[in-house]
Symmetry: D3
Subunit: 237 residues, 6 copies
């Protein structure tokens, strides 16, 4: 097994940074960098609820995920006629993850849309989107008059996500694109800041995995999310 | 906790049956019943490969999933203009699961489409689809001149799937619709007949789950899949 | 002229059977078999009227027709992006045929959708759909509290349909696929149980037909529908 | 029963006229007027055959039907996103009718598209389209070097179409819009110049019809088509 | 530089004619001929306002532009699935041009749609559409009870449009198709009858143009529009 | 007339900056800021020519324009099902503007797509897109082995664009959103670095404009483009 890019250890995250307030006017906008993956997360609050929620005293959080054409090489075509299956899966995942830490009753009859636009893709775009989307959601809510983290506050926890995989038989945390494309098994884990699971998705890419490998993937992801949670706290401090 | 429907134990599967050769003329067609869930799985073999695989000496297996309008009450609208996100997710999952046990080189330049049409939905339609799709795929290949289970054979293993969930704090195997709709956590596991994982998907539905709950869900699913594998073997015997 | 499949006489129907209550929970569901053609007809009642009928004290009956991919060999592609012209024509025909025997005022502000899903296609799928749809509609209405065949009842008659054609110069009743694909002329007739015409469609497939041939086609169809009407009555008895 | 518009007898056609060469440059373009119904029929010849016919030594004739927004009052919306069911049905009917009089082998590997654009709609637009489309097709073929009516000629006959209906119990030929909208039964008949049927479509609009009514409709349509055939011959003379 | 078709001078319009009342029943319908370009403009008035204007006491004018398939050779395909970019641009331009001379408050809560259907295309279809659309709009409003040109009247001016271009270095007014397809620069100007500009669009087609050329194009267009305005007045007199 | 934002003079541009190489891996990517308007321009080179250009020894340049949902407040919906008319118009304009300075033969059989993604919108997004797209195109070509600005070079000139308008009767250069939304007349001018016009588009927004106003708009735009050209040169120096 050759050393990882940038000399990373098997259970080491890539360098992560969060640039809050990337747009001056937007309610909450955060530029997330995780290694060479760059995602712009923007949360917009409105009172335009989906019809099936209107008048129930509850709010809703949804997400849209998109890769800019220049984010990959060769250029990725835009989703202009229909949204492809992968995109749909990812944005449903982001939405579910955020709703797991939202008290919809405290939120009240508001709809929040979190846009995750991938400016540069080097693996882990869905997990970086979730980790950044939490901060954008936090800041958009904090900018609403009726809410404050210290007062009435719709968020019950934080949320972060990370990937891991088995590459050439070894369990690696936070795969970049070159690792991801050769992984035999790919796992995404989404957890709250308090250490509860929201989602676990492990997929044999062509291959399969045994119980021991499953446990090692879960372990390394839990460790990674704990570190991401700390970085989120630091960014909000 | 009230007793389960039909007096099932927490770790007990619903009654499963497989009706092979449901269509006289189709290459492989299997009617799967799992409790009140009924899925018609039909595998069709052609040489109409996707363009990106043409001339590579390899085959491809894909799946389509569909719920008939009358399979639910109230009636479900047909996907006639676009396929909804859930459907796309499920049929991608079925396709991935089948490909994990197919040797694409042995298959050669053939394309297999497995249609999973849900005639009646009472929870667990995606896992029943996978468990039945394996049999339809098996039979469609066995009907091809160039293949036989005892000779040149593109399948390297069998595959089956089952769900589990946490309902009112208890871990239950193989949820029916009434259980699924009140589950706090929902897990789908897909494994080979030889006991390897192909896919693990655990989702907190509104809620979250801790490490102990994750382990109990994995354990009960492994047990269920072993039983389904035995039933598949019996059906093919 | 070679003998017909299964030794049928020129004016003889295929073996027909109706399996009522195919789905336990659906309001009305009937599996129709006409020779090797198998159609699942399911009627669903709701109060979700089309906007242009709302508040007029009248109901509406509409139909959807669909062939499952495995119903033909080679596999038929699903209508997932748009509905093809033939499908549209057929489901409009089924809807018109049913509405001809419905008293919309007695039905009241209810909408009935009858789904005709072809499980296996061996010619005559549209006529089998209509003949079966009548039974599904009947049973769905009978299951509504406010209606009963002996009391307030929205159906004014029964309806059945059959095809005929000219094959190698001979007039044949109830064409199967092999006959249909070589027919010079194809006719579909839809009639009420009381012997009135609802629809007559005769088409020269490539060829044309003269007045005498038209009359012979009409005669044999009338005979066939009378027999189907008797079988429907028997099924409901 | 009040007298018909313009004092027409029950079995009398509306005033019909054909303006050939409506466009100077188009291969065949005919403006048909039937009472207040006005349709522009334009036939275009190309060698752009549908893929399934390429290289088979045979040609193809197809049709498109369209109502201009201003052809009705109130304005009809354009079919810009999808073609509605009625439009599809009609253009398939026009295409079938024309193909019935075309020898595809003599036509050779050419594709003819006949566009029927309704400029003004007062009932009978589909039948006027067919009657005019024949002339446009004739003229477009006559303008091709390789064909002439006196030499190699792909048309084996002429074709014309007319409607009839039962209005207030009376059989009327060639319904205008006001008659059509109150008709209990509506019939369209398409015949060749030599008196053969291509298509017979009789529909109970809400109601039903008996055998005697069916025969009276067929009789009056045959008479009308004979007159239209004479007018087509005169136009081409 | 060869002489222009029909011996036109460089700054000479093609022969223009307006046939008002082309449809007997439509509120306003005008057939415009400009040389061999023929456009049917039809204005329809309804009270079906776009939602964002409802209840504001103001009206709206919009336009649809369409080329009939037979208007060009080879045949142009219909816009049946989506409207192409050029069509969208043109119909937005027509709508803007008309709204510039409409007092929306005087119009009141009415919506006017002006359909511009190109029957024959020989260059300048968008400008002929605008020039004719004004007349159709005028006549449709004049046919409304509540308006008359001498009384309450929503039009504040007239509008006409013309193209010019630089062909082989020379500035030419009102390009036909053969000129347009070789023009280095193409300009469309839309002006009111009182000599104000509504829109100026000059485009280097592959090439560029200098300030002197820009001025010569503007000058010749102004002259052309003055002449078209006179012809519109004559047509309405 | 109140003073302009940031104390700008009537004929003064907003502060402009160009950040070249915004993406490390993309062939040419430039972040343009013009006041608060921010556009990311990325040029991608491929040999995937449109079919109608294949094998002609010439290349093609096209553009896509898109506003990110968070670029406006309230959030703008994504163009996921269809591209709206405005977007189509703008991206066609950008493409035309770039092609005016490209020698397609020198470019050879290459296709360049320039993506203009608006990250923040404060008026003038289309003109900032063009001005930045030139730099992205320049850098993408310079990164191709076969080209260099000093050697074989497909660009024959530079291109820049600016808007002007008449606001409260005064001619203003380079409108921001607040000015643009109250402008009576809006003009966009696109010119080469050598002072030739590529496109002039002047539109009365509700109102009209006279010849003197047209001249003042043209003059101020020419001045602005000269300044932008200087800044582009400086950025590339």
């Amino acid at each position: 097994m050759p050393p990882r890019n940038a000399g990373r250890a098997a259970d080491e995250l890539r360098t992560v940074s969060f640039e809050r307030g990337f747009y001056a006017n937007a309610a909450g906008s955060v530029l997330v960098r995780s290694g060479d993956t760059v995602v712009l997360c923007t949360a917009s609050v409105s009172d335009d609820l989906p019809p099936w929620l209107a008048g129930k005293g509850k709010g809703w959080v949804t997400a849209e995920y998109n890769m800019l054409p220049g984010s990959t090489s060769p250029r990725k075509q835009r989703d202009r006629k229909k949204v492809d299956g992968r995109t749909t899966e990812i944005q449903r995942l982001i939405g579910r993850s955020l709703r797991a830490i939202v008290d919809q009753k405290v939120l009240g009859e508001l709809a929040v849309t979190v846009d995750c636009d991938v400016l540069k893709a080097d693996g882990g775009t869905r997990t970086a989107s979730i980790t950044g989307a939490y901060l954008a959601l936090h800041d958009a809510l904090a900018a609403c008059e009726e809410f404050s983290p210290a007062g009435r506050w719709p968020l019950t926890d934080s949320v972060a996500a990370v990937s891991a995989g088995i590459v050439a038989g070894e369990t690696l945390l936070d795969l970049d694109y070159s690792e991801d494309s050769t992984a035999e098994v790919d796992m995404n884990v989404i957890m709250t800041g308090s250490g509860k699971f929201i989602e676990v998705q492990g997929t044999g890419e062509g291959g399969t995995f045994d119980a021991a490998q499953l446990q090692s993937l879960l372990a390394v992801c839990s460790k990674g999310i704990q570190e991401l949670t700390d970085k989120q706290k630091a960014a909000l401090a």
